[in-house]
């Protein structure tokens, strides 16, 4: 009788130990990114190795840029500390694999959202951070107002890029003749344009503003306001991790909504006292959206305090307050001439 009781006790103990071990293993291999991030104490961000305005390290290893700041915003939402973002430079061809293999928690690396990429790599692009597209740079003296004025032009492009395909489509659709002047290296493309070997240079608009800085007389050249292709740049996360995807998505939307509501890093303390319902829901003085995200009530206030709203992030890195000076264009808010539009927070 006694024996059986002892045996039962032992079996019970063994089961308990097994459960505990399994729980520890499960916890360790938990695939939920938020949990892993919190346990690690930092967000791992896959970024471009060096793209002025978007992500670039200085000689001391301090990163700056639009993509970098977005990742800091995610870290601010979780940890109330933008310094808890760690940057992992990734090549274009390795970026999706590195995200899949959990080397990073999020890609914030000027990556174009496309259907094929979501399907092929099992990834998810939560929201568009920057609307880019192929455009044209021309000398100001040519007096061109639209890319439809570019008929019979010599167009400098980098070979092997999607730009060449987009340019070909655009000129064919509009029944315009053109001559393609191709180079393998981007530096050669710029040099050819700068020395007048072509009438216009074509690349992604964000890139054109960066390339213009390297011309002998940047002020003599302008970028036409048209975009002839769609290159929506977006952060990327893994599929089947909805909690994490929601955090990344609403971090961006909180920043866009903050700009629309006039909440900035400078007036955030004032905003926390606001009695306007939309502002109260954003900064967390009303509702518990932050807690439903697995964060705190003031998650969005943390983002705005440490990183700013969408417009502040834009101006500082790529807009009027930066070297690049890219006009807001399509990235202006929907009610101010652009298409940046965030669903309401309610």
């Amino acid at each position: 009788m006694m024996r059986t009781f002892r045996g039962g006790l032992l079996i019970g103990l063994a089961v308990a130990v097994l459960v505990a071990v399994l729980a520890i293993i499960y916890e360790f291999y938990d695939t939920r990114t938020l949990k892993r991030t919190v346990r690690r104490g930092e967000v791992l961000c896959g970024v471009n190795k060096g793209l002025p305005g978007f992500s670039i390290p200085d000689d001391k290893g301090n990163w700056t840029g639009f993509d970098v700041d977005f990742c800091r915003a995610v870290a601010a939402a979780i940890f109330n500390d933008p310094g808890k973002a760690k940057f992992v430079p990734l090549d274009a061809n390795e970026r999706f694999k590195e995200l899949q293999s959990r080397k990073v928690d999020i890609l914030s690396r000027n990556t174009t959202w496309s259907m094929a990429r979501e399907l092929d790599y099992d990834l998810y692009f939560p929201a568009v951070a920057y609307y880019d597209g192929v455009g044209f740079m021309v000398p100001r003296t040519r007096n061109k107002e639209t890319s439809l004025d570019l008929t019979d032009s010599k167009v400098c492009v980098q070979s092997g890029t999607t730009t060449t395909l987009n340019v070909a489509d655009y000129f064919r659709v509009n029944n315009m003749k053109y001559e393609e002047v191709k180079f393998d290296k981007l530096d050669d493309v710029v040099k050819a344009y700068d020395t007048g070997k072509c009438d216009t240079l074509s690349a992604d608009v964000s890139q054109l503003y960066a390339l213009r800085l390297n011309l002998s007389k940047p002020g003599d050249h302008m970028i036409l306001p048209d975009m002839i292709s769609k290159e929506p740049l977006a952060p990327v996360v893994r599929q089947r991790d909805d909690d994490w995807m929601m955090i990344v998505k609403w971090t961006l939307y909180a920043m866009i909504n903050a700009e629309e509501l006039g909440v900035t890093s400078e007036n955030i303390d004032e905003a926390l006292k606001s009695k306007k319902p939309e502002v109260m829901r954003l900064v967390g003085t009303e509702g518990r959206y932050g807690e439903q995200l697995g964060l705190t009530k003031d998650w969005a206030a943390r983002i705005i305090r440490h990183v700013g709203n969408y417009g502040e992030m834009y101006d500082r890195n790529i807009g009027e307050k930066s070297k690049l000076k890219i006009p807001r264009g399509m990235n202006q808010l929907w009610n101010a001439g652009g298409v940046q539009y965030a669903p309401p927070m309610r």
């Binding site: 639209t146 306001p225 509501l261 004032e270 306007k276 502002v279 006009p327 264009g329 202006q332 001439g337």
Partner: protein
């Protein structure tokens, strides 16, 4: 006797001027209105404030003027999802407004009669000033509805991009002349302010 009276009068006026000038100056340090200053036509605006064609999506028809006080930009809507954007100077804090008005009158090299409220705030301003290069209204003025506000030029191009005015919108003279030629009386003007918390 008349001479003596006139002299005394002039003396009193001179003393008054001497006493009032520094006081007025202390009350209203440089507000961006400098009657008599000839505009520096060679002044180079920052790229942000230079006239340029930009992407602009709106439901307002081409020809509409949209003023964004917060951005310090004036947009003239064009066909095809674009606008001509000009840099402007706007009202200082407390002197900004929003609304929908039309252009009711247009004047070249307008005269300037500062409204009474403005005189009260800035007593050192002249009561009337004939149009010309030294006039703070600059080369052109477009009247906004029945308000005292105008879209006008300036003799202070360095104030473009700032919040200085009493509610008017100022452009550099070249830009205001360019806009003037593009918009007729009756043009719809939408003035937008930044949202309040």
């Amino acid at each position: 006797m008349t001479d003596f009276r006139r002299l005394t009068g002039m003396f009193v006026a001179a003393i008054g001027l001497i006493l009032s000038a520094p006081q007025a100056f202390a009350q209203q340090p440089d507000r961006g209105d400098e009657p008599g200053l000839i505009a520096d036509d060679g002044y180079q605006l920052d790229p942000e404030w230079q006239k340029q064609v930009v992407y602009f999506r709106t439901t307002e028809p081409p020809g509409t003027i949209i003023v964004s006080t917060a951005e310090r930009h004036l947009y003239l809507v064009q066909p095809g999802g674009r606008a001509i954007r000009y840099g402007i100077g706007v009202g200082r804090d407390g002197f900004q407004w929003q609304g929908l008005v039309t252009i009711t009158n247009k004047k070249e090299w307008p005269d300037w009669t500062p409204p009474p409220e403005m005189i009260q705030r800035q007593p050192y301003l002249p009561r009337f000033m004939a149009g010309g290069p030294g006039n703070p209204l600059g080369a052109r003025a477009m009247y906004l509805g029945t308000t005292v506000y105008r879209i006008h030029g300036t003799n202070r191009p360095d104030t473009i991009g700032t919040k200085v005015s009493s509610g008017c919108f100022r452009l550099v003279n070249n830009d205001v002349a360019d806009l003037y030629d593009r918009v007729p009386v009756g043009t719809k003007v939408v003035i937008r302010q930044k949202p309040e918390l």
